[in-house]
């Protein structure tokens, strides 16, 4: 009996099924191999040659296809086993096992099996593909596709900064270090030095993170103002002067103390003496004003200027107490009062003269800072006005009128500073002077724009710009940058 012909139909069907499954497994293995190959190239951060991709896939396909085909190839026994689905397994198996035997029963069995095989439709043999196989294929395909789509330079380190950026960083570090060293070499107090160094450190960090030259210029400008404020606050007379300006009777006196004009102080003391009409009450009030100002100034009580004002205030109190009651006729005479005022004036002026040495140090420091920041500004590529003359004005030598009242913080009127020529007769070419003196005529917009931008940033941080106007400011500065 030609059992091969009998089973041929089923074997062909099983062969195609084996082929389909093997191709599926081959594709799964190929996709997995492709995934691994691509992953390796991704880790190497290199674009692989096409032959690697194709070769990896092909090798994986062979590895998956051949074993699966061998496993599912329809041999006689496998065919008989699969025919179990059609109910023919025992018939076909017995037929194949005893096909060489002779005997009536085995012959009858073969005939019986043949009849049943011929009566069975091939379609009863269904293709067996499990959910796990399909899932494996889908996962492998997804991983493979993802790996092919991911750029090969994803893990590459960020590109190195261009040399010009590095040079700028080096320049910033160098200049800031120079300034830092100058501050340390100065005779400023430790607190003042620490504050100045902190401002420099912040400036250094901010400059390296700045996105544009404009922002760099604004940062330098802001740092200069902050440092001038620090220097400003190291001068005792200014502290005491600002404190005195907060009280009625001592407002003018305080302003003159800040301005450091000795003849003006003398005139002011005369004015004060002249204005005392109700001696007792006014003296008491004057004494209280001076005492309160000294208290809020926070100046060291051993400071000479502080002691001069303190003695003055104490003398006024003694003068008041040198009467028998508040309504009694004072025992002191006007000449006594004049003497007290003259003594106080003398001591105040002496104290101021003694401080001039410290102020010179501060002024020198201010000049160094200003020139250093000017150089930094030039390195940042911002226009700077040429300096005229070599002498820089000190902080104490402002020819501007200080503000009266308020907190005495005259940051809006920085004196000296960057680009200040120091020559009162020369044209002012400071960036800030251009703002405050629109009639100068020699200031370019580029010189002042950085200051404008710095002011804008300050106001923005302080929340001083209304929200509905912020877009206009932003557009204005971004269009000009």
């Amino acid at each position: 009996m030609e059992y091969k012909k009998l089973l041929g139909r089923f074997r062909w069907r099983l062969f195609w099924q084996a082929l389909v499954r093997s191709v599926l497994w081959g594709l799964t293995a190929g996709a997995a191999a492709l995934f691994i190959s691509s992953l390796i190239w991704h880790l190497l951060i290199k674009t692989p040659p096409f032959i690697w991709i194709f070769g990896g896939f092909f090798a994986g396909f062979i590895v998956g296809f051949i074993p699966c085909m061998c496993l599912h190839f329809p041999t006689k026994r496998r065919t008989a086993t699969r025919l179990d689905e059609t109910g023919l397994q025992e018939r076909v198996g017995t037929m194949l096992e005893f096909h060489k035997q002779k005997g009536l029963m085995v012959e009858l069995q073969r005939q019986d099996a043949a009849e049943h095989i011929q009566a069975t439709a091939v379609k009863k043999l269904r293709l067996h593909i499990s959910l796990k196989e399909l899932l494996a294929f889908l996962i492998a395909a997804a991983l493979c596709t993802a790996m092919l789509l991911i750029p090969y330079d994803l893990l590459a380190p960020p590109p190195e900064k261009p040399e010009e950026v590095s040079a700028w960083e080096n320049q910033v570090h160098t200049m800031i270090d120079d300034l830092r060293q100058q501050i340390r070499d100065s005779h400023l107090s430790a607190e003042a030095q620490a504050e100045l160094e902190a401002i420099l450190a912040q400036l250094e960090q901010d400059l390296l993170n700045a996105d544009s030259e404009l922002e760099q210029a604004a940062l330098i400008q802001q740092a200069q103002e902050d440092m001038q404020d620090v220097l400003y606050n190291t001068v005792t007379r200014r502290i005491i002067g600002r404190a005195l300006q907060q009280y009625d009777l001592t407002t003018a006196l305080g302003a003159q103390i800040c301005a450091d004009l000795p003849w003006e102080i003398s005139d002011e003391m005369d004015n004060l003496l002249r204005d005392i009409t109700g001696p007792t009450k006014q003296l008491t009030k004057l004494s209280n004003n001076i005492g309160n100002a000294l208290e809020i100034s926070g100046v060291d009580p051993t400071d000479r200027l502080y002691m001069a004002f303190y003695d003055f205030s104490t003398g006024l109190v003694d003068m008041v107490n040198y009467t028998d009651g508040p309504d009694a006729t004072p025992a002191w005479t006007m000449s006594d009062l004049e003497f007290l005022f003259e003594l106080a004036e003398q001591r105040i002026i002496e104290a101021l003269e003694e401080q001039s040495h410290d102020e010179a140090e501060v002024a020198n420091m201010d000049g160094l800072i200003s020139s250093g920041l000017q150089s930094l500004m030039e390195e940042a590529g911002m226009e700077t006005a040429p300096q005229q003359g070599g002498q820089q004005q000190s902080i104490g030598q402002s020819n501007k009128q200080p503000q009266s009242g308020g907190d005495g913080n005259s940051s809006g009127t920085p004196v000296g500073g960057l680009f200040d020529s120091g020559d009162s007769n020369s044209e002012r070419t400071t960036m800030l002077e251009g703002i405050y003196d629109p009639l100068s005529g020699d200031v370019t917009y580029g010189e002042v724009f950085a200051a404008y931008y710095a002011q804008y940033l300050q106001a923005l941080d302080a929340g001083e710009i209304p929200e509905d106007l912020r877009p206009y400011f932003e557009r204005y500065f971004s269009s000009l940058s």
Partner: protein, 331 residues
């Protein structure tokens, strides 16, 4: 040598036998079929059922259908071995001389109904069991051969166990099949009553002769068995043994003793008969699965755990078949 005629004869006659016995038996079709299979295969049957379900009637019908002499032995505690096998008696001959004559017992028949075998003493049981195994009877020093075919259908009453002598496992193993006759359904009961109201006599007619039965037995032996099916049957028997490593886990827990090699022989022999009765020329897994219950249920000894959890032999056989079939699928 088996001929086509024999094969055709087998198929035709087996159907007729079933049909004839079916005339006298209402329901119990599976028991009837298994009993006929056992008879054709040359084995003995242990029949268990409550009184009145038709055990005696079955045997009597089989005797009529196979046209074989039938005898019934009611086993009682006082039954003696000689009552079963026969004994020598003194007889006067024509000359008036005394002589010993062997009086054959009821066992000298073709189909024996040994009713309530567990009520007799072990000694009496062994007399029957020796005849079952050897097909010979020894009495008075002389051995008498029993004529073929020789078929014993022994019964046990599952209710009245007091004062009985349960057959030892070695003796129970000699029965090829153990069949359980269940109480008939209401419909069957109705049919029984209706039938027996007309007549209590068996209606089955003779279909076969002893010689033909033996030929059928020979024909069935020629049925080929595929190696895989044979292996499946052997693995089934081996799975009943808890001491074997390949047996399932529940075998270790619930089976105390497994089936003997006689079970494997019985499985294949009866499967061949069944296959041929169904018109097939090869043994299938289905044959093995169907005959696993009657072949194994009296051969496996449930453990105490099984008894405590009320897990019977049939349930254990079902689990064994499930375990084997799941392995077969994964192959």
């Amino acid at each position: 040598m088996v001929s086509e005629k024999d094969v055709a004869f087998f198929s035709e006659k087996s159907k007729k036998v079933l049909a004839e016995i079916g005339k006298d038996m209402v329901g119990q079709s599976q028991v009837v079929e298994d009993a006929v299979i056992a008879m054709i295969a040359g084995g003995n049957v242990l029949l268990e059922g409550v009184p009145g379900v038709g055990k005696t009637r079955l045997v009597r019908s089989m005797g009529r259908a196979f046209n074989l002499p039938f005898s019934r032995i009611q086993f009682t505690p006082d039954l003696m071995p000689a009552d079963v096998t026969g004994t020598n008696i003194i007889e006067k001959d024509e000359q008036g001389r005394n002589r010993l004559v062997f009086q054959k017992g009821p066992i000298f028949s073709s189909i024996i109904l040994a009713d309530e075998i567990n009520r007799a003493t072990p000694k009496t049981q062994s007399a029957l069991l020796e005849a079952m195994q050897e097909h010979t009877v020894t009495a008075g020093g002389q051995t008498y051969t029993l004529e073929e075919p020789f078929f014993v259908l022994a019964t046990q009453n599952p209710i009245e166990q007091d004062g009985t002598y349960p057959l030892p496992e070695a003796q129970v193993d000699r029965f090829m099949l153990k069949l359980t006759m269940t109480f008939p359904t209401v419909k069957e009961l109705s049919d029984i009553v209706t039938m027996t109201q007309k007549t209590m006599d068996e209606q089955a007619e003779s279909v076969l002769t002893a010689k033909e039965l033996l030929e059928m037995r020979q024909t069935a032996k020629e049925i080929p068995v595929m190696d895989e099916v044979l292996e499946y049957a052997m693995r089934l028997v081996a799975a009943t043994h808890p001491e074997l490593p390949e047996s399932p886990e529940f075998t270790h827990k619930y089976i105390r003793f497994g089936a003997s090699p006689r079970a494997a022989q019985a499985l294949i022999t009866t499967a061949k008969v069944r296959a041929l009765m169904e018109g097939r020329y090869n043994v299938s897994y289905e044959d093995i699965n169907a005959l696993a219950y009657p072949v194994l249920r009296h051969r496996i000894k449930p453990s105490y755990d099984a008894v405590a959890e009320r897990i019977g032999a049939d349930e254990l056989i079902t689990k064994l078949l499930e375990a084997l079939n799941s392995k077969k699928k994964h192959k």
